[in-house]
Amino acid sequence: MSASYTSVGWNRAKKAYDTTIATGLVVYLLFFLGIGLAVHPEATIETLLIRALALAAFLMLHVILSIGPVCRMNPKYLPLLYNRRHLGVTMFLVALAHAVFAIVQFHALGNANPLVSLLTSGAGFQTFGAAALVLFFFMAATSHDFWLANLGPRFWKTLHMGVYFAYALIVVHVALGALHAEAHPVLAIATGAGMAWLLALHVVAAFRERAGDRDTRRAEDGWIDAGLVDSMEDGRARIVCAGERIAVFRYDGKLSAVSNVCRHQNGPLGEGRVIDGCITCPWHGYQYLPGNGRSPAPFTEKVATYDVRVVGGRVYVNPQAHEPGTNVEPAHA
């Protein structure tokens, strides 16, 4: 949260996450190089490294793109989302290493500037890869919360949604490059399977969310019926939809409603819990007081709040949002 920035807010979970990424990457590279040298003893280390790094970055990109929909379908995978940015930055560094080795191997030995040679060689697949790498750079370079705060959540989110465009560029890069050169169909099948996996995950997650939104019912005066009080778990929320999603929390015998969208990275507040009296975003732990939607001091984030009432054991929410940070008297559960 934004009292004062640090480079990385290290904690045990982040250290474990990053150790897993680094260890996995090193083991993978050693494994790939070992197998590669055994199967293709004529291949140079540089060539094997170019291929190993390319495949590692491509696989990591698939994992990164899978994390969002997987977490929407099953919250038990949320720890994967918690530090996804570090995975993204690592993926960029791996892709950059792949690009540097490839440029040195294929473009640095002539008289021309290697970058000029890269872009004028007539091998179009390299241009697609370079364009994707530029996008990955901007996403990695702006991954710190400083950029989120200073570029604004909308622009920042739009920039980072560019990962899907970058993925499309990479698929073209792979199709015109590696798949074009490789006679064996396994790579083409694996690439197609990866695309099908990502498409299916996103479609299923979107359908599930839409189905949840359609269940929203309204009272005659337009207030949204959030269901029976007794069916709501203490410390948890029910998400209702009124154009915007609203999270209705039950806590300490009270009910309060806030916007479902965290100010940090648009995380789903309603999938979080009330911890130490604060609504806690499941993505990165940003906190808000349920009664006024404000982050506890010294933090300054605010989300919109909504009026809540209980009639006949049912919870109703006024879909008219108050200004972010507005104090609203909680309803009694």
Binding site: S4, S7, T120, T142
Partner: protein
């Protein structure tokens, strides 16, 4: 792609990044705390981490810095 066009574009990019590198130094020492108070007391490692983004987006950061001076 045309050789001269690519050569010219890369030359322009190099100049852009060189200016960004020059702007980034005073910005990360003095300017960043002006546009965002949460960065005022931030450690050197934080400034190093945002350096690539500042170099890449220096016109935007410079504009913010200049605007922060006017609104005081």
């Amino acid at each position: 792609m045309n050789f001269d066009v690519v050569h010219g574009a890369l030359y322009a990019l190099a100049i852009y990044l060189a200016i960004g590198s020059i702007v980034a130094v005073p910005f990360l020492i003095f300017g960043i705390g002006r546009i965002d108070p949460a960065a005022k007391a931030a450690p050197l490692t934080f400034r190093a981490l945002v350096l690539p983004g500042v170099v890449a987006m220096w016109p935007l950061m410079l504009q913010r810095w200049l605007m922060s001076g006017r609104t005081r």
